[in-house]
Each structure stands twice: as structure tokens, then as C-alpha cells.
């Protein structure tokens, strides 16, 4: 139960002279600071950080935490984000000494266990992707997209092929076109058909020798396995282009089909989704990429290599890639997330992983079968791991929008689905139940969603009613941004 006496801003709890730490005095001879650092470099004023005691900090944040919905506490069917259960063993194992406390510039000989983890993870991701080589360096899915596009750009530069465009479907996640732009490409949008697939005619009309890459999501953001994916890939390849596979939806196809086998030349994984890394209120993630052989020389460095010696295997960092694009972040990668992914993969094994996808798809189809009767799912009555319903009809009939439904679900103790994405579905309600929910939970959710559609629109416009706050004024927030606390102007 929230204690509102502890959830003021931490700055408002601050009292001069309080502190939560007591640091030792230096055990070396002390010199006056200004003899070590000339006056001109020293701060004249201290940062006004809060001054609080340790119990206050605990109470403040413990109470704040209760204001969040989370996977540990709620059903969280946020489409596209794969909010599955975050196994506690992975948290523990990523925090053991020798994993959590190692410095990134330790010698390779002092890191053999960790390097082995990353080598084996590279191998596992190669196998799952059906591609030839993996870089674990990128820090999130979007970062993986950008990295892979840089790899593609380097490849085309090297073969002397000047290609300036990246195609992506209108249903693609916003990171796809944003990554293409950051990499210096012009982005061209490919239309979707009304049943949710890439419009082949539109694609072909835009496909020429200036197209470097088609970025495609499969299963796509509507939760559909892209019809004719292999033929699409053939068409792009026949024009000399490459296929990038946005792997955010790998949860649907683990062990069923592999991107490399359906035509992808490169892809990213989102281990924080597919392999159950917790999302941390926004992050961290990781964004390992897998690529086909001809792109391997351009991957970022280092990757982990394995050598066979008399005593067995040794692992080392391989820097020897003269054609590498270089680096996209400092140090090795988001290792803590990668270790969790490794633990997840070992926990499941080949059969377990396949079963993850089977049950993710089963759960999504079951929920779809229950929801479609009162909320149309324009793209048909089968899906992969998620589906996108539309509240467009409901809205014109009753005034209840996707947003209203999302907000009202919060009152009933469910996190809202993703709404208004993908952009190709009007009043989109994107539901991804994941495999780590029970039939009972899906039933309750479907019943609640139905109940919401039957409620009075006026009630819903003001929802949620039971939460601490409701319908914040986002327009004012953006027009008159107040992005930090100020001591004077407080209310």
C-alpha cells in the first residue's frame, strides 16, 4: 500500500546535513585539494543533490515502485514488446562474482569463463538465426538495426555499388526508418495490403538498383507470417539488394523457421524480449546481430574466437578484421543482458525453445479467438505470437477509442496493450500475451476487454478511475516543458 508521505520528490524530502553514506577518511597523506588541482579547475558551487538518509531513500523508492505495473505484478500484454516472465535464476546468475564485477579491460586469460559464455552465445544465435556470424556488441534492437545497416553500407562501398535507399513497410516499427536515416540512407515506404502483408506490386515498383536494403519484420508487426517472404527476398536479391530482418518477433518462430532460411542476410535479436531479459522501466536491452557470410568481414570488433590447444579450448577477442566497420559502443556489449540470454537458452534447450514459440502462438490465437467476436481483428482469424484488433468500428458506434479501452483496462488490473501501432490499422490494439500466461489469465483478460466495450463511453473517456492519477495533460507537458525540479518554482 502506497504511503504518500514518502512519494514527494526526493528533493522535497531533502534536509541539509542528512546523508546516507559515511566514507572513510583517506589512508594516505592528505594534501590540500588546491595543491593537487589548480583553483581554476575547481567547482565554486556544489551540485544541489538531495540530502537524505538511507531509510528515507528506501521508503521513497519502495513506495514509488508500487505505483508501477510490472511483469512481476501484472499481466502486461504490450504488443511488440514481449513482456514475458523474467526468470529469477537469471538475475541471480548474472550477479555472481566473476560475472558482475569483471572489468572490461582485464586480460583474456583472466576471462576464460566469460568469453566462453559469449562464444557459445554467438554459436547459439547463429544456429537460431540460420546465419553465419554474430556480433554481440549492439546495445538494443534499434542499435542492432543501425549496426547492420552500417555493415551493409560498408559492403556496398567495398564492392563499388552506390546504393542510396532503404525500403521498409508502412507497418514497420519506427526504429527501422530512423536507423536507415541515421546511416545516411534515404528511406522509402512500401505499402501494405489491406490484409496486412507487404504489397508486392508496390514493392516491385520501388525496387531498383538504388535499393540497398529491404528492412522487413517477420512475423510482421500485425502478427502475421509474411506471405511470400522467400519470393520477396528473391526479388530483392535479384536486384542486388539485401534483406534485413527485424527480429523483434522471434518469439513466434524459435526452432520453427530461421531467418537465414527464409532469405534474410542480416538481423537483430532482442534478447530482452525473446530471451526474457527484464526491461528495467525502459532498458537495458541488447541487440546482437547475425549476418550472412559475405557480410561477416564488416561486423564490429571484437568478436569472441575459440582456439583449440592441447589443454582444450581457449577463448580470445578477435580484433583482426581489417574491413570491420569499427565499433558502435564502448567495451564488449550489454554483457549482463547477454548472460541472462545465455542462461535462458540453456534452461530451455532445443525442445524448450520450440515449445516457447508454440505456446506463445497458441496463447495469442486463443486470445484472438475470444476477442474477435466483439473487437474485429481486420487481418483475419489466425495470428502468430500477437494480433492487432481495431477499435475503429467501436469508436464510430459508441465513441470508445483504443485509448479509452487501454485506460479502462488499467482499472481492472491489466497493463494496456500497445495502442495506435502499427500505423496501418486504425485504432490499433496490439495484444501479445506471451507463453508465460495461463489460460485463466487470458480468459479473464478477454472477459474484461469485452466488459469494457459494453461500458458507457463517458465513463471510459475519464478512465482510469482507480489509479492515483488519470489522463495527464500531455499537451501542456510538451508546450511548456518542465523537465527538472526547480527549488523556487514549486507548487
Amino acid at each position: 500500500m502506497r504511503n504518500k508521505h514518502a512519494t514527494q520528490l526526493i528533493f522535497e524530502l531533502s534536509r541539509a546535513g542528512r546523508s546516507a553514506v559515511s566514507l572513510p577518511t583517506a589512508d594516505v597523506p592528505q594534501q590540500p585539494v588546491d595543491q593537487l588541482i589548480p583553483e581554476r579547475f575547481l567547482a565554486r558551487t556544489a551540485p544541489q543533490l538531495p540530502e537524505v538518509s538511507e531509510p528515507e531513500i528506501v521508503r521513497h523508492y519502495a513506495n514509488l515502485s508500487t505505483l508501477n505495473m510490472s511483469v512481476d505484478t501484472h499481466f502486461y500484454p504490450l504488443g511488440s514488446c514481449t513482456m514475458k516472465y523474467n526468470p529469477k535464476r537469471n538475475e541471480r546468475l548474472a550477479s555472481i562474482a566473476g560475472v558482475v564485477d569483471v572489468h572490461p579491460y582485464q586480460s583474456e586469460s583472466s576471462l576464460q569463463g566469460l568469453l566462453r559464455i559469449f562464444f557459445e552465445l554467438q554459436q547459439m544465435l547463429e544456429e537460431i538465426s540460420g546465419l553465419d556470424a554474430v556480433s554481440l556488441q549492439p546495445a538494443a534492437g534499434a542499435h542492432g538495426e543501425l549496426t547492420a545497416l552500417m555493415v551493409a553500407a560498408a559492403y556496398f562501398r567495398e564492392i563499388g555499388d552506390n546504393r542510396t535507399k532503404v525500403l521498409s513497410p508502412d507497418s514497420a516499427h519506427g526504429t527501422n526508418p530512423a536507423s536507415a536515416r541515421m546511416c545516411g540512407f534515404d528511406t522509402v515506404t512500401v505499402k501494405s495490403t489491406s490484409d496486412g502483408f507487404v504489397d508486392r506490386d508496390d514493392l516491385i515498383s520501388k525496387l531498383d538498383e538504388s535499393v540497398a536494403v529491404l528492412m522487413i519484420t517477420n512475423p510482421n508487426t500485425l502478427g502475421l507470417f509474411e506471405r511470400g517472404i522467400a519470393e520477396i527476398a528473391d526479388e530483392v536479391h535479384s536486384r542486388g539488394g539485401l534483406i534485413y530482418l527485424d527480429g523483434a518477433n522471434m518469439n513466434a518462430i524459435l526452432g520453427i523457421t530461421r531467418p537465414g532460411d527464409f532469405g534474410a542476410d542480416m538481423m537483430h535479436f532482442n534478447p530482452h524480449k525473446t530471451f526474457s531479459g527484464p526491461h528495467g522501466g525502459g532498458g537495458p536491452g541488447a541487440g546482437p546481430i547475425a549476418v550472412a557470410e559475405k557480410l561477416t568481414p564488416y561486423l564490429p570488433v571484437p568478436r569472441v574466437a575459440r582456439l583449440e590447444t592441447e589443454e582444450g579450448y581457449t577463448y580470445r577477442l578477435d580484433w583482426g578484421q581489417p574491413r570491420s566497420i569499427g565499433r558502435v559502443r564502448s567495451f564488449f556489449g550489454n554483457c549482463g543482458v547477454l548472460v541472462r540470454a545465455y542462461c535462458y537458452l540453456l534452461t530451455h534447450g532445443p525442445d524448450g525453445l520450440r515449445s516457447v514459440s508454440e505456446n506463445a502462438v497458441l496463447n495469442a490465437n486463443y486470445l484472438l479467438s475470444r476477442v474477435k467476436h466483439f473487437l474485429p481483428v481486420p487481418q483475419g482469424d489466425r495470428c502468430m505470437h500477437e494480433f492487432v484488433a481495431s477499435a475503429a468500428q467501436l469508436k464510430s458506434d459508441t465513441g470508445i477509442s483504443a485509448m479509452d479501452m487501454a485506460k479502462r483496462l488499467l482499472d481492472y488490473g491489466f497493463h494496456a496493450p500497445t495502442v495506435y501501432f502499427p500505423l496501418t490499422v486504425r485504432e490499433a490494439v496490439m495484444v501479445e500475451p506471451t507463453e508465460t500466461e495461463s489460460k485463466e489469465m487470458l480468459d479473464k483478460f478477454a472477459e474484461t476487454l469485452f466488459r469494457v466495450t459494453e461500458e458507457a463511453a463517458d465513463l471510459l473517456h475519464d478512465a482510469p478511475h482507480t489509479t492515483l492519477i488519470s489522463r495527464p495533460d500531455e499537451v501542456t507537458a510538451a508546450r511548456k516543458p518542465k523537465l527538472r525540479w526547480q527549488p523556487s518554482a514549486e507548487d
Partner: protein, 456 residues
């Protein structure tokens, strides 16, 4: 299959409700020709006990500061993390939630973000902060990219050679497909060569990227540098070590326009280099070009103070290819940990921890000046690390021997600076003790070739 609820009976009931004969049929949209016709070739499943033993065995093949005295730094530091940081960071309501798209059920995260932004602004003396980028290196390149947008100058960016070599490499990698030239500013005496800087500034220069304290640990003459760079109409993108800001003048006060840095020192474990925390703050006037999530204060329909994600028209999910960056998932958990760390330290704790680093570093430096084998390379004020030259020019052996003796003695510099192949970088955090420093010097004196008189 530890995390799946569905029993065979559940599955059967669900399939019936769907009107489908088998799970296999649910995958009908995946053509047989594209199916994997064999099991994935992966290790067989392990139970929790087996997995725990397996990880323990792998971890035992690593060494770490838990068993080896650590003088490694160069962007990742062995600072102490108060238990309260771990406690808050391991609350499931924080670490198993996601981006606060629904503010009504995310006020905990949003308020914590707003507090974080305020603390970063205080620490850097900047107007606005975002809610984290991936790490110091990617934050650095985002700062550089932002300077191109803000100044509308796309000709060149100047990068001091005293900036972390990996950060510079990232800048090169990101700018390679774009038209902007990356020009290195030499730092022959450990800091920016101001004459070279003045020569390279031009009216199409977007920014100077500097680091202060720099990669070598030295303090840059920021006031003079800021003056010439601003006079040329370019911006200062400053890479900071947040711990140093307990003592050093804050970047906003010396005139930095964009501040970036690695926030790992603020309560994030070293974990072999990530996940870390990309810090980024800037002037008010640039806020609409700032990448990443930002929390803002507003009121709800009943007039209650509350927080939301704001200025979202900068972001990829709204603006797609016109967004300021492609970032989506960030490092929220480590921003939270940094807030808890900063709240626990307070202004006084930050000053103390910075001073402990400074005093211990000064002590180590003084001892090394007196050593026969080693010398201190740059005669400049330093904060918590510095460059050591090995007069015997055998850095690799020295570091390997030290490691065998239980000491991670430093980061060799030859990989990035061929001229400094006989040098290594030595960092001293508040966790190091006088005994550990003395032990290192004792080790060095035992590993000094006798009879050779070194020119001092």
C-alpha cells in the same frame, strides 16, 4: 519448460476454442519449404541446479576485483556501490516494467526519471537531461550528431586525441556513411594542442569533442578551449566522469554546450563493460534536438501533479525517419540506480568520494615518481588516473607478471597509441587502499632489472 503454464489439457481446450486441430496447424502460414526440419542444434535443457553449477564453474574461470587488486580504469571503474542501490534496482516493480507508455501505471518510473534528470542537470550545470542512452560511447556520438543538427554545420567535427579511443572509434564508425569529416586534434603533452585546435577550426566546424578529465586522466584547459571554439561558432561537446564533478567545475559553468559521459561510476557494476548508462544533457535551446526519452511534469485531469513522457515528437515512434535518433529501449534501470546512488551520496558524499580518489591517486603518483622502473608521463594535474611509462619498455610482461601476483596493474596504451607502447593507464578509486598501492610498488621494485640505471 519452467515458465509455461499450459498443460496438455489446457492446450487441447484452447485448440478447440480456436477451432484448430493441432498446434502444428497454427503455423500453417509458415510454408513447409521454409521450416526447419530438424531440432535446433543447441545444448540440452538444464534445470536450475545444473545451470547454477555450470555458471559457477564458468565464473570460477574468471578473475575479478574480488580476488585481484584493480587499478584498471579507462572508462569503467571499480567504485563502491552502496547496498541501497542494489535493493532499489532489484525491486521487481522497477526492473520488470517497461517504458512508461501508460503514465497512470508508471508514476513510479516517471517520477524517478524526473528526479534523475534533475540530478544530472545539477551535476553537470546543464538545463536539460534525457532519460539515458546506451553508454558513454554511444552518448558521445549522439552528442556529436546533435551538434551537426543544432549548428547546421556538416563539414567537420574536431575530436581531441585525448578522448577515449573507443569513443573516437564510435564517432568514426557512425560518421563513415555520412559526409562529415572527423578531424583529430593532437595531444602530444597529454592535453589538447591549442595551436592545432585553432588551425583546424573553420566556419563549417560543428563541434569540438573533448573529454575532461581526459582519457589520460589529465585536466584540459577548458576555459581557453571553450573561448576559441565558441569564437569560431562551434559547440563544445564535453565527455565527463560524473565522479569528478564532486570537485571539478561543472561543464555548464565552464561553457560546455552538450555534456555526455559514462554513468557506470554511479552505482552500476562493471559487468565486463555493460549494460552501462549513457549520460546526456544540454542547453535549453537544444532540447527539441535531444535524443531519447524525456520525462516532464504536468497535471492530470483532477489537477494532481504528475509526470509523463514528453516532447515525443522528437522520437522514432512518432517521427520515424525524421526522429532525432533511433533509440527506443534505453538504460532506464541504470538511470534509476544512478539516482539512488546520487541521493545516497548527496553533495557532501560526492565531494568526499571525489576527494578520496584524488588523494589516493596523488599518493600513488608520488610513489611512482620515486620508482626506479616507472615514471609518470604527463606533468599535468590529474584526477583519478594517470599514464605511467615503463622505462624497461616491457609493459605487457609487467602487467602479466602483476596479474600473476594478484594485481590488475593497468590498461596498456599501445593498442590505441603506438607512440605510447611503453605506457599504461593507472586508475585509483576510493576503494583502493594505501596497502594495495604500496603492494603494487613493492611488486614493481621486485621486478626492476637490477644494475640498470634508469635515466630519470
Amino acid at each position: 519448460m519452467s515458465y509455461i503454464y499450459n498443460t496438455p489439457e489446457d492446450q487441447q481446450a484452447m485448440l478447440e476454442a480456436i477451432g484448430c486441430g493441432s498446434i502444428e496447424e497454427l503455423f500453417a502460414a509458415v510454408p513447409q519449404s521454409l521450416r526447419l526440419q530438424r531440432p535446433l542444434q543447441l545444448p540440452e535443457a538444464m534445470g536450475e541446479l545444473q545451470l547454477t553449477d555450470h555458471l559457477a564453474e564458468l565464473a570460477a574461470q574468471n578473475r575479478s576485483p574480488a580476488d585481484t587488486v584493480c587499478f584498471l580504469g579507462a572508462g569503467s571503474y571499480d567504485h563502491f556501490i552502496p547496498a541501497v542501490v542494489d535493493y532499489v534496482g532489484s525491486r521487481g516493480e522497477f526492473y520488470t516494467s517497461y517504458t512508461p507508455y501508460q503514465p497512470e501505471v508508471s508514476q513510479g518510473n516517471l517520477q524517478a526519471m524526473f528526479e534523475y534528470q534533475t540530478m544530472v542537470c545539477e551535476l553537470t550545470a546543464m538545463d536539460v537531461s534525457n532519460q539515458s542512452l546506451y553508454d558513454g560511447g554511444s552518448a558521445t556520438v549522439e552528442g556529436v550528431l546533435m551538434s551537426l543538427d543544432v549548428t547546421r554545420r556538416r563539414g567537420r567535427v574536431l575530436v581531441a586525441e585525448s578522448v577515449h579511443p573507443e569513443f573516437r572509434q564510435i564517432v568514426e564508425t557512425y560518421l563513415a556513411p555520412l559526409e562529415t569529416e572527423v578531424v583529430s586534434i593532437p595531444c602530444p603533452s597529454g592535453v589538447i594542442d591549442q595551436r592545432a585546435l585553432a588551425d583546424e577550426l573553420s566556419d563549417d566546424t560543428a563541434c569540438l569533442l573533448l573529454q575532461h578529465p581526459n582519457f589520460f586522466g589529465c585536466l584540459e584547459e577548458v576555459h581557453q578551449i571553450v573561448e576559441v571554439v565558441h569564437a569560431a561558432g562551434a559547440l563544445i561537446v564535453s565527455v565527463v566522469d560524473p565522479i569528478s564533478l564532486g570537485l571539478l567545475e561543472r561543464p555548464g559553468d565552464y561553457g560546455a554546450d552538450i555534456v555526455v559521459g559514462e554513468g557506470q561510476s554511479l552505482g552500476t557494476p562493471m559487468q565486463y563493460g555493460g549494460p552501462y548508462l549513457g549520460l546526456m544533457a544540454c542547453r535549453d535551446s537544444f532540447v527539441r534536438r535531444l535524443p531519447g526519452r524525456i520525462a516532464g511534469q504536468t497535471v492530470d485531469r483532477r489537477g494532481n501533479r504528475c509526470w509523463v513522457l514528453t516532447l515525443q515528437t522528437r522520437e522514432q515512434h512518432i517521427r520515424r525517419d525524421k526522429a532525432t535518433s533511433n533509440i527506443c529501449s534505453n538504460q532506464g534501470l541504470f538511470a534509476l540506480r544512478a539516482s539512488v546512488y546520487l541521493a545516497a551520496m548527496g553533495p557532501e558524499g560526492m565531494r568526499k568520494v571525489a576527494e578520496l580518489c584524488l588523494q589516493k591517486t596523488a599518493y600513488a603518483r608520488q610513489q611512482i615518481i620515486e620508482s626506479d622502473r616507472l615514471e609518470v608521463l604527463f606533468d599535468r594535474p590529474v584526477f583519478k588516473e594517470f599514464v605511467i611509462r615503463d622505462r624497461e619498455n616491457a609493459v605487457e610482461e609487467l602487467l602479466a607478471d602483476a596479474e600473476r601476483a594478484g594485481i590488475f596493474a593497468g590498461v596498456p596504451l599501445g593498442r590505441w597509441y603506438p607512440d605510447l607502447a611503453d605506457c599504461f593507464l593507472f586508475a585509483v578509486t576510493e576503494r583502493r587502499t594505501r596497502r594495495q598501492i604500496d603492494r603494487f610498488l613493492q611488486f614493481v621494485s621486485e621486478h626492476t632489472t637490477s644494475g640498470v640505471t634508469h635515466a630519470k
